[in-house]
Symmetry: C2
Subunit: 342 residues, 2 copies
């Protein structure tokens, strides 16, 4: 029996297994605290291509191929691809995964897309629509700066509240619990909580942690309510890319709701860079931040049994260059995914 | 039993019902052949707002509210929203539907998003993840021209191969077949075929029909193969926005595959405008084209029993301003949705 829980959550009766994952990042990420954990660190920021956008497409394609290679699967065996990126009209994805020829659901949830893609892929697999599906997201520092702020050539100054967009991609191959593909896989998605848009009126695109923290708080609180759980039911609650300032805001907002995140909370944006030595200010961000950290750091911790249950909450800031220039606020959204060992 | 069919299709065991839909369009669409069928025709192209983007957000919000009103439902009764538009980072959707506070899956499939959203919403409802879900898409002539070509103030000349982006939005409320909500609804989604990206190398953003026709051909052919059906099994096969030139290319491509679309094919872009008198050249286009035509024209034909089974294939051109300026081709994607009377 599928159980819908509360307003925004689902508990799976046959939790889909994550049978393989891959992460590919750039040099700066490779020099960070998680550097030794990624599958590949690419030295060429252009990934052998001519433009930043093509570079991100190549990054996404290579990561998808790496995940399929690790799963021992061909493109034909992956029934659906749920994928997205940060660029206008999702071009990193469209041009990147074209040659895979897998039926595609294109997604946009800003940096929350990693959670959105895992949510929809697990819904499809659990329901029997696919024996196997892939969730795939990416971001690239240079394409994102160009897309949302200024081209790198302007050498714009970055205030301390900014985050540094991760050059990275993460791909996740999900298979049905009863599939032969899943027989050696022990990490599964046991449920999801789908976020709604939350806007506290933040207008500073150099302060994304503040823009997204209210959405993260909303989704985490909704999740705990829907599931009837407390923070103590989780080894870790890990947001996507709030960074160090966003983390403080999240903790304050949760305290206002009567929930103390204590030492259970972490953030992929804080984990992926050493802000002290890498000059990344508030932390890492981007669709590739949560995705590469999940693949390289979080899933192995679950596989080794160090953690039993993690709530991953990728967070997205729903602005565009146009909305920013027109003076609009920056609404946030966050999608929760429950990861457990079986 | 859920049946996955062939490479890219699903047949639903409990076909979700479309319990209500709504369409709101601009004046030009209101003056077209379907003008008398839309729920509302808004005279103010800015929809009472200050910018084209805010206008499209308002259009999408009003259409969502209209569909819920027709269904007799409040926001709280709609479990999930599957929505998107054509603008960078989907801002028409994000800012438009924010106040509904419905858990959101943000989508991007260019003008195919109407098909993608109906596909995912029907998957969710059929699987029991939601008693009720909404699919919602929009486009606006002025925001789209600004996004993909030139601001209107430039008064750019339009070649005869161009299509005219529809100012319009369509919203569809889906409910589970066994839900009390569905007891008076007779049109359902019996299956879907999910498209993959197809690129024939077209680089002219003023010739979108040519860019998208190969994807439409691929999805229609895949659909017929997966379902073991022929063109004669459909009263109509209706693409999203190929326009008159794209229609010719589609028919030629299908003939190459041994399939004669004969008189069964139509196209929302051809249906929505009178190209002779409305100066729209090849036809209408945009996320709102297929969506508003489906709500105003196609669903009523099914409800009245004039058609028994229709294959709707919204088509999308996956370009951005950046990919175009960097000399990239324009890949296409098309998602098929089978609509039937029960």
């Amino acid at each position: 029996m599928i159980q819908t829980k509360g307003r925004a959550s689902i508990v799976y009766e046959n939790p889909p297994r994550i049978i393989a994952s891959a992460s590919i990042v750039g040099t700066k990420e490779g020099e960070g605290p998680l550097g030794h954990l990624f599958d590949c660190i690419e030295k060429d920021p252009k990934f052998g291509k001519n433009t930043w956008e093509e570079a991100e497409s190549e990054l996404q394609l290579r990561t998808a191929r790496k995940a399929m290679e690790k799963a021992g699967l061909s493109e034909e065996q992956v029934r659906y691809l749920f994928a997205g990126d940060l660029l206008a009209q999702g071009i990193a994805t469209s041009y990147g995964i074209m040659e895979l020829q897998i039926p595609l659901f294109g997604l946009y949830g800003a940096c929350s897309t990693c959670g959105e893609s895992l949510g929809l892929a697990s819904m499809a697999v659990n329901a029997g629509y696919a024996e196997c599906a892939m969730a795939l997201t990416s971001s690239h520092f240079a394409s994102a700066e160009k897309e949302f702020r200024f081209p790198l050539e302007y050498a714009g100054q970055r205030p301390l509240s900014t985050t540094w967009t991760v050059t990275g991609s993460g791909a996740f191959v999900l298979a049905a619990a009863d599939s032969a593909m899943a027989k050696n896989a022990h990490v599964c998605i046991t449920g999801i909580t789908t976020g709604k848009i939350v806007d506290y009126g933040v207008k500073d695109s150099m302060h994304m942690g503040a823009a997204m923290a209210p959405a993260a708080a909303d989704t985490i609180y909704q999740h705990l309510t829907d599931f009837g759980r407390t923070v103590e039911d989780y080894d870790q609650i890990i947001t996507g890319d709030l960074g160090s300032i966003g983390q403080k805001i999240l903790k304050d907002l949760m305290l206002e709701k009567g929930v103390d995140l204590g030492n259970v909370h972490d953030d992929c944006g804080i984990l992926i860079f050493d802000a002290e030595t890498q000059d990344t200010h508030a932390g890492g961000s981007g669709c590739g931040c949560a995705a590469s950290t999940l693949s390289a750091y979080i899933l192995p911790k679950l596989q080794r049994g160090e953690w039993k249950r993690v709530l991953l909450v990728p967070t997205g800031a729903l602005l565009s260059k146009v909305s920013f220039n027109e003076g609009q606020s920056i609404p946030g959204i966050a999608h929760g995914v429950v990861l457990e060992m079986v």
